[in-house]
């Protein structure tokens, strides 16, 4: 108890300096927490992927489609329970800035493959009955103030023209980790239109989503599907949904790595600031340490005092920073939902915050502690200022 009191008294001895240091630490921890959340939101799609879903696409690359006739063949493969398919539509809503993912899918099977998209029974029925019907996520609908029954026009980039949709349903996520910014419409709508304007591209699916019976047979099933289409005009590449999503991320790896590195740089910067504060504090208190030594306190006690003081500073800062992370993340999520549909502060981030605070305290206290322990009593007492 006495120790804690001394530590706090020492840490807040110079109020202005302590305040500035803690402010710096809090800002750094806040920035660190937000950056970690940015990285984890990059991986949100991977985390949300189910182990019992496979994605089949053209082996050449994602921009090539597969014939729709593959659906029946895939269905015959052992272990396959459901087959759904769709195309990336890539439509623009009014302006390029308003980006959100939009796909056309085979609706019945798609929603049975994704139980995490919760859609009201009546809305689902309306959607299935309307060829021009569309379903949007809750956040997306809220952002553009869409109501059920509204007509939404997307400008096609891959499929030219203006496409009208009628909003028939708004889905909710089963929990917080589900992306609520997607937009789906009926594959048949796309296909029938494409048949008229560009028959070469008709009856093709950009990807097949496959549900398997049990997660442990997913890998074997994938191999079997690919073997079936080997040496055909459109060879396939089948992987688990997780691997598929990771593949997208791997392409943007450089950016993720850069953010990761930068998040450590901020810790380094603030480490220098804390180390600076500790160096100054201990220099001013050299006389005190000499007196403590005269009284019989050993190297261990003095080290404890210095480390403890640094820890008090960094922990206070970290606490403030970490608690500010949550409201900041909420603002962030609202402002940047286009880039980051899922923006949740994870528990790991908070643990990392604490770890960073401890690390800062230690690295800041090492040199001053060594100096304070080594200084001879007479020299310490002689020193003024």
């Amino acid at each position: 108890m006495l120790l804690a009191k001394i530590l706090f008294k020492n840490a807040f001895h110079n109020k202005l300096r302590s305040f500035l240091t803690i402010l710096g630490i809090a800002v750094a921890i806040l920035a660190f927490g937000l950056l970690r959340t940015v990285i984890s939101s990059f991986y949100a799609g991977v985390e949300a992927a189910s182990a019992s879903r496979l994605v089949t696409r053209n082996a050449i690359s994602i921009v090539f489609a597969l014939p729709i006739s593959y659906a029946g063949k895939i269905h015959q493969v052992e272990g396959v329970k459901t087959v759904s398919w769709g195309n990336w539509f890539g439509g623009i809503y009014i302006d390029e800035k308003n980006f959100f993912p939009n796909f056309c899918v085979e609706p019945v099977t798609y929603f049975s493959l994704y139980p995490e998209f919760v859609l009201d029974e009546k809305q689902k029925k309306d959607f299935l009955l309307d060829r021009k019907g569309a379903v949007a996520g809750r956040k997306l609908a809220a952002k553009y103030k869409w109501k059920i029954g509204d007509t939404i026009t997307l400008k096609g980039t891959i499929y030219p023209g203006n496409w009208d949709f009628v909003l028939r349903g708004i889905y909710r996520g089963r929990d917080q980790t589900v992306d609520e910014t997607q937009f789906f419409f009926q594959w048949t709508y796309l296909n029938e239109t494409v048949k008229k304007i560009a028959p070469v591209f008709a009856d093709k699916a950009g990807f097949f989503m496959i549900g398997v019976n049990r997660p442990d047979i997913a890998a074997d099933t994938a191999v079997r599907i690919d073997a079936m289409f080997k040496n055909s005009l459109a060879e396939t590449l089948t992987e688990t949904e997780k691997a598929f999503n990771l593949g997208f991320l791997a392409m943007a790896e450089a950016i993720v790595t850069a953010i990761q590195m930068v998040s450590f740089v901020i810790i380094l910067i603030i480490m220098a600031v804390v180390a600076n504060t500790m160096a100054m504090t201990t220099r001013e208190r050299t006389g005190d340490y000499a007196i403590l030594k005269t009284l019989g306190f050993g190297a261990k006690d003095i080290t404890l005092l210095i480390f403890g003081e640094a820890l008090v500073l960094t922990m206070t800062g970290a606490l403030i920073g970490a608690s500010l992370t949550f409201p900041a993340a909420r603002i962030f999520a609202a402002e940047l939902s286009t880039y980051f549909p899922i923006f949740l502060v994870s528990r790991t981030t908070i643990y990392l915050d604490i770890a960073a605070a401890v690390l800062m305290a230690f690295s800041a206290a090492i040199i001053p502690a060594r100096h304070a322990v080594r200084v001879r009593i007479a020299d310490g007492l002689r020193r003024i200022g």
Binding site: L20, L30, I62, V63, P160, L233
Partner: protein, 391 residues
Amino acid sequence: MALPLSYSIRNLWRRRLTTILTVAGMALVVFVFAAVLMMAAGLQKTLVETGSPSNVVVVRKGSQSEVMSAIGRQKAAIVEMLPQVAAGEGGRPMMAREVVVLISLKKQGEEKSSSHSNVVVRGIQPPSLSLRHQVKLVAGRLPRPNSSEVLVGNSIAQRFQGVGLQQTLKWGGRTWTVVGIFDAGNTGFASEIWGDVDQVMQAFRRPIYSSLIFRLKTPDAFDAAKDAIEKDPRFTLEARRETKYYADQSEMMARFLRILGTTLTIVFSIGAIIGAMITMYSAVANRTPEIGTLRALGFRRRNILLAFLTESLLLGFLGGGIGLFFASFMQFLTISTVNFQTFSELAFRFTLTPGIIIESMIFALAMGFLGGMLPALRASRLKIVDALRAA
């Protein structure tokens, strides 16, 4: 009379550890600041150099990139006959009909993982090379027309597996032999694979062109050409100058970098400014009697203010210099990432421009100034008697 500069320098030297730590913090901030700017500059440089102002790119209306575009053979023939198209060798129009597709290739050093990157395969015609003066063959030879032979850009050759000379690639149910490697400098073409247009179209069963590229007869004929293409009811095409076309493609990425960069550096600079402030406050506190003496000797308040401000600006200057020194090494680094807009691989280099050096130094000095202003004010406001008594 002002206090000599050596007074400030010596003070910094006297408290070496503190100075080093403060400068280190600032240097890191400047490093990040400069690195982000260099990245954005490199990206822009790459994509601007990719285009030439006298070339025009024609794609289908509404397509954001060549990959999404589709132009039939007939339409290509009509565009070729426009009077604004320059004539090349033997009076033939300087226009290339090209097809662009993406294939996935494995990066080097990632043998085990299943990750692939999307690489642009461009089907070219003979004029394609003369339209891009930046592209030079550095190894091997040009592919024979109408053969399954390909050229590989230098940044692809360095980064991906199985794309060396005489190695073969398999896509579209065919085997393609790499017969040459071209150097496209700092342009987007360096991240592409080039093959014969008709062969590529055949292999992918995609009997339509992606884009048409032609040289303008005179650079100012662009508006006339644009009008002729976009107002013709037979097409749904749009024409853009090549420079603008590539600048548009970097827009989203550059904006992302700018937003990320400015937010980060602003937050980071708070840390560094606080560091400088702590240092300078303690410098003032430690030197209170000294300040009193100086004042008693006849130095004015503004001299004191200036001396401490100089000290703080020196901190910023050192931090800026060191940060830039390390940032300049980043120029040897090439990053290769996916461009979200075209969905394909793009390699670019960190580029240090004089503008970035100036901006970084201004930024560093501003941090020093902001950090030193309040402590310097406090120092200058001390009363002589109080200051002297503090000893």
